[in-house]
């Protein structure tokens, strides 16, 4: 138990001070130091920053539900988008107790790689010339968080972008429901999303023959019928100044064709509210965005950890009874959230003026990634929830087939201007597809990550 040495607002004041000074995370001690010492990182922050009771003057406690009737009392702990969803749409969010064991907030292998770098002080750096993430000796960075205690907006974004799924290979089966503004279900899709790290891998070695790439990523639509067989492949250069090459197989063409790389702001399928720029809060190479700035560091609620549904059929979350646009969700406190903004500087015709992401310092992972239109108006929020895939005595094996998987559990992309919602979840399976956390990487490469592969996946 911690002795309260400071007044109730000390933590917030110190976070403001840290933000102004460009310091890293942590109030009582630097977060990196706490992380290196123990999986229980609570000693980096005073208790009041972990406590929803303290931050709401006792009005809320874990187990309570945030509703449109009480949201004004907790608005300061929510991002703008979540607040408006609750207020205007009647979304409801249950509060849970915060996780203090950060090893449960990472893929186990990724956590190990992060610690292996952190303890001897092998942090990455941003190359002074290119801005890319490199080792101190200037080589491509290996696995693990490059900046466990990010001090700048660009470092924060690099943490998001260098390894999306925090594993060498991820193969998600995703189910998506698209609702119109009135809450009517219009579209229903199943698709496979595959990420295969070429660099930034857990063993520190590049995937053979792909030393100049950071990842290959593909998306394959399995249903509905009109989009079945549509597949896109993105080859991401390691150099984050370069926009990924994009190849696509469209059913009407029956062959793979090249697509311009700058098509990052278009809905791939009818009804969908997300674009390629959205996933993981950092869907584009981080050096194609610029003017990074940390807006603030503050305690916040978010879906940082929880929302595990592996005990349910196909891992499908429960629909909110009063408004089916939303899943039933739970948020928990993070003692320090980094709020970062940046602008799409490499995309002069982008419809987006800026993105604001809310990143949990504990694992440098995003919950809310909010984009704003050209007029600066709130447009959409790519809200992600994360969890270790373990519930009671049930466990889904992760990257090595032994440790529990850690991944995202749901994503909801709410469009504030049209009130449309794309509601997805990380599924065990979909139409002819299945999720794999421990897939054979060569098989993933051959099956999803080449032009020949998406040709084979395509409609015949």
């Amino acid at each position: 138990m911690h002795i309260r040495k400071y007044d109730i607002d000390y933590g917030r004041r110190k976070l403001l001070q840290n933000t102004a000074m460009g310091a890293g995370a942590g109030v009582l001690m630097p977060y990196g130091m706490a992380m290196a010492q123990d999986t229980d990182v609570q000693k980096a922050w005073p208790d009041e920053l972990w406590s929803v009771e303290a931050q709401t003057k006792g009005k809320f406690k874990p187990g309570d539900m945030i509703t449109k009737d009480n949201v004004e009392d907790i608005k300061h702990l929510l991002d703008d988008s979540a607040y408006l969803q609750i207020k205007e749409e009647g979304r409801e969010i249950r509060i849970k107790a915060p996780e203090r064991d950060i090893s449960k907030m990472f893929n186990a292998g990724y956590y190990e790689a992060t610690m292996n770098n952190l303890k001897p002080g092998n942090e990455a750096k941003l190359d002074s010339e290119t801005g890319n993430v490199v080792t101190q000796s200037g080589k491509p960075y290996g696995g693990g968080l490059p900046f466990p205690n990010p001090k700048t907006g660009q470092e924060t974004w690099a943490n998001l972008a260098m390894s999306w799924g925090r594993a060498d290979a991820n193969c998600y089966a995703i189910q998506q429901w698209d609702f119109n503004g009135d809450g009517k279900l219009e579209f229903r899709y199943d698709f496979q999303w595959v990420e295969l790290q070429m660099q930034g891998r857990l063993d520190g070695k590049a995937y053979p023959g792909h030393e100049n790439e950071i990842r290959r990523q593909s998306v394959y639509f399995a249903s509905s019928q009109d989009v079945r067989g549509t597949a896109f492949l993105s080859n991401w250069p390691y150099d984050q100044r370069k926009i990924p090459e994009l190849y696509g197989y469209l059913p009407q063409f029956r062959r793979v064709r090249q697509f311009p790389a700058n098509q990052r702001f278009e809905p791939l399928i009818p009804g969908s509210t997300w674009f390629l720029t959205d996933p993981w809060g950092a869907g584009d190479p981080y050096l194609t965005w610029g003017n990074y700035k940390i807006i603030e560091r503050k305690p916040m609620l978010g879906a940082w950890n929880g929302n595990v549904n592996i005990d349910r059929e196909n891992w499908e979350p429960v629909e909110q009874a009063s408004n089916n646009k939303f899943w039933e969700t739970e948020y928990e406190m993070t003692p320090e959230c980094i709020v970062v903004e940046c602008e799409p500087t490499a995309f002069p015709r982008s419809p987006i003026s800026k993105k604001r992401v809310y990143v949990d310092t504990r694992n440098s992972q995003v919950c809310a990634a909010v984009r704003y239109d050209k007029q600066g108006k709130l447009w959409a929020n790519f809200e992600m929830a994360f969890a270790q895939f373990k519930k009671g005595d049930q466990m889904v094996p992760g990257w090595n087939g032994k440790d529990p998987a850690w991944s995202w559990t749901y994503v909801m992309i709410y469009d504030h201007q049209s009130k449309r919602q794309s509601r997805t979840h990380n599924a065990e399976r979909g139409t002819g597809i299945e999720g794999r956390f421990a897939a054979d990487q060569d098989w993933l490469y051959e099956t999803y990550c080449t032009q020949g592969a998406i040709q084979a996946l395509g409609t015949v």
Partner: protein
């Protein structure tokens, strides 16, 4: 959405099979099988006064009364020009003049010399096609219902089965041509490939009329069911092997098939007038194939195929988008009789991409799926009708026939003369060996002959002469080569009267296939520029070279045309945002150059003939090359609920096809599409010098309603 409904038949079949009766295997198969499908209605509403001018009732001069004057054949006026030293046989001449006198009541006497220019006194008539075949007045160009289902069963990580079934029904709710209405004219319909002459929307069979060209197809007059995909796939490592009925698409050009050479096209259904953005996904003719795709390196993809040769399929006579004038019988397709059904095509494509640039190379040893067409024997034992029929028959019967004594001595070798010697025992038999035969609704006047010929890029003058010179039977029935247009017109009008007062002559053609080696190269480059208009443009250049490509001779000669052909296309694609509110629009600009043929593969030497007016015939002298531009694209609205589409094809010789469209995605598995086909084949220049003119009847409003399940 995915459906497991409707699969109980499969379940029962599997359960009944001892080898796989285990519930575990069945459940595994069931769990690994995906079913999906669509129901779709396509309807095209005619918006122009013009209707398909290749179909009965809409042909040029349908409503015009035309005088047909008969002329003495040169065998009776200028025999020496036909056979060296030839003379008029008195007996034959007597039979001829006697018959004329019997019909006209006046003795014509001995005809004066005049090569196809000496009229037969009193033997003339007036013909108007609409007297026997009224002009239809269709509101609809097209109405079809479609059920399409796909099934994918994954047996193991390496093996899977893909099946796509397509079922179409056309109720024929058009102002159809009624064959029964003309069956009392000139002996009715006879000959040709079709077993009957009712409008048949789908059946595509070989010459014998027994077997479908597509082996995995069941079809009737109003329906077809086929399996565009029925393939087993084996995937291991970088190799994907597909075996079964399938289609293969190559190349980077859209719509222009510069390097898209593996499969022919199925022009039944909506010809090329479906949504342009769908390209040929529903039109490539599937073939039993083995296809191996191999990722040779990280950047290079290899694609190899061996397939059973399958030809392109042409619309049937009198169907809404028929392209062969119905004065011809349905072409005899020699796919089976010629042994082409056992032939194989093979080819490979190497495609390399290096980010901003790439290249591709293709080669195929194949049969050209379009095939080549020429005159062929009618096989119809049927003589002529009307006054001309009686006259010609009388003269023919006066000739010495092969079964008569002394024939070999009097008619053998150099002794043969077309005025004294018959090649066959009866004139009916002679016509069976000629490419034309009497019938209703055929070519009936020289005007419509030249107008129709020019319309389909056939050289009407050469077609007449080739029909005569390539077939001794034609000379046997007094056909003689025409040396100028006046002679041709007179000869045609004489022959056409042989169909009787209401009839004409129906042509018979056959289709064969020729092998060729196709070579192709392509390069791609993606631009990078500070100027957003010039940035991220995907450029593709593709060139096809085919030495000794064989083309249909515009004169329908038995000797096909052979020429080296170069086809090149340039494509520039860009996605651009006009505003922040709307997703990027897709824009594509394309140009294609073809040195020998038009967009559909017809040789350019048949271009520049007569258009709708055949009263002043011209002999086509062709055009040097064909050149086409395409500008197409689409603009989605936010969330892609609506997609505005457009496509324009411009033939620099004066043809324009514009297709604006709108796709609406209301959700719930429904899609509504509406598009308009605007066709102008007479924008400038000579109409018969552009390809668009051939479909210059198809102004139409198209609706498509789709429900997915």
């Amino acid at each position: 959405m995915t459906s497991k409904l409707g699969t109980f038949g499969l379940a029962a079949a599997l359960a009944a099979t001892p080898a796989i009766s285990s519930a575990g295997i069945f459940k595994e198969l069931w769990d690994s099988t995906v079913f999906q499908g669509i129901l779709r209605t396509d309807v095209a509403i005619r918006t122009s006064n013009t209707q398909n001018f290749y179909n009965q009732g809409n042909q040029p001069y349908s409503d015009t009364e035309i005088t047909r004057q008969a002329y003495f054949p040169p065998a009776f006026t200028d025999p020496g020009t036909i056979v060296p030293g030839g003379v008029v046989d008195p007996g034959a001449l007597a039979a001829l003049t006697g018959a004329i006198a019997g019909i006209t009541g006046q003795d014509p006497g001995t005809p004066s010399p005049g090569y196809w220019t000496t009229p037969i006194p009193g033997v003339m008539d007036q013909f108007r096609r609409s007297d026997s075949v009224p002009r239809p007045d269709d509101d609809l160009n097209y109405l079809q219902f479609r059920l399409e289902g796909t099934m994918t069963t994954r047996f193991t990580r390496n093996w899977k089965l893909d099946v796509r079934m397509r079922a179409l029904y056309d109720p024929g709710w058009y102002d159809e041509f009624e064959t029964d209405s003309v069956n009392d004219i000139a002996g009715g319909f006879t000959g040709g490939q079709a077993p009957d002459y009712d409008v048949n929307y789908f059946e595509a069979k070989g010459r014998d009329g027994d077997k479908n060209l597509n082996p995995l197809e069941i079809a009737g007059e109003h329906y077809m069911i086929d399996l565009p995909t029925f393939q087993v796939e084996y995937k291991s490592g970088d190799l994907t092997l597909r075996m079964g009925n399938q289609t293969i698409a190559w190349g980077s050009s859209i719509f222009f098939r510069t390097l898209d050479i593996p499969n022919g096209l199925d022009f039944r259904r909506h010809l090329i007038l479906d949504r342009a953005i769908e390209e040929f996904s529903d039109k490539r003719v599937p073939a039993l194939s083995v296809r191996a795709t191999y990722q040779l390196t990280n950047n290079i993809l290899g694609d190899f195929f061996v397939k059973k040769f399958q030809p392109s399929i042409l619309p049937n006579p009198n169907t809404p988008y028929n392209v062969i004038p119905t004065g011809f019988n349905k072409p005899f397709d020699n796919y089976y009789e010629g042994g082409y059904d056992t032939e194989l095509d093979a080819g490979f494509r190497i495609k390399a991409d290096y980010g901003t640039w790439g290249w591709q190379a293709v080669y195929a040893h194949r049969y050209n799926p379009l095939g080549v067409i020429r005159w062929t024997k009618s096989g119809v034992n049927k003589g002529l009708y009307g006054p001309v029929g009686e006259i010609v028959t009388a003269a023919y019967e006066a000739k010495l026939s092969p079964s008569e004594p002394g024939y070999d001595a009097l008619c053998g070798g150099d002794n043969y003369s077309p005025t004294t010697c018959a090649l066959y025992d009866t004139i009916d038999e002679a016509f069976a060996n000629a490419p034309i035969a009497a019938g209703p609704t055929g070519a009936a006047t020289s005007q419509d002959w030249f107008a129709v010929a020019g319309g389909v890029r056939v050289n009407g003058f050469e077609a007449l002469n080739n029909a005569i010179l390539d077939f001794p039977a034609m000379q046997d029935i007094y056909g003689a080569e025409a040396f100028n247009l006046e002679q041709a017109r007179n000869e045609l009008d004489t022959f056409f009267q042989g169909g009787g007062p209401m009839g004409g002559l129906r042509g018979n053609i056959e289709r064969d296939y020729e092998r060729e080696d196709v070579f192709g190269l392509g390069g791609s480059y993606v631009t990078s520029s500070e100027n957003t208009w010039l940035d991220s443009i995907i450029l593709n250049l593709e060139v096809q070279y085919t030495p000794d490509r064989v083309f249909t001779d515009p004169g329908l000669s038995k000797d096909y045309l052979t020429a080296d052909e170069t086809i090149a296309s340039f494509v520039a694609e860009k996605w651009t945002r006009w505003s922040a509110a709307y997703p990027a629009a897709y824009l594509v600009f394309q140009y294609q150059y073809r040195s020998e043929s038009d967009l559909v593969g017809l040789h350019l030497s048949g271009y520049s003939g007569n258009d709708e007016d055949g009263s002043d015939p011209t002999i086509p002298d062709g055009i040097g090359s064909s050149n086409y531009f395409v500008f197409a694209g689409f603009q989605p609205t936010p969330n892609r609920r609506f997609v505005i589409e457009w496509a324009a094809l411009y033939d620099i010789k004066g043809g324009l096809l514009i297709q604006p469209g709108l796709q609406y995605n209301p959700g719930g598995g429904k899609v509504v599409e509406v598009l308009y086909n605007y066709v102008d084949g007479d924008l400038h220049g000579e109409p018969t010098e552009n390809v668009v003119r051939r479909i210059d009847f198809a102004d139409e409003l198209v609706f498509r309603f789709t429900y997915q399940f």
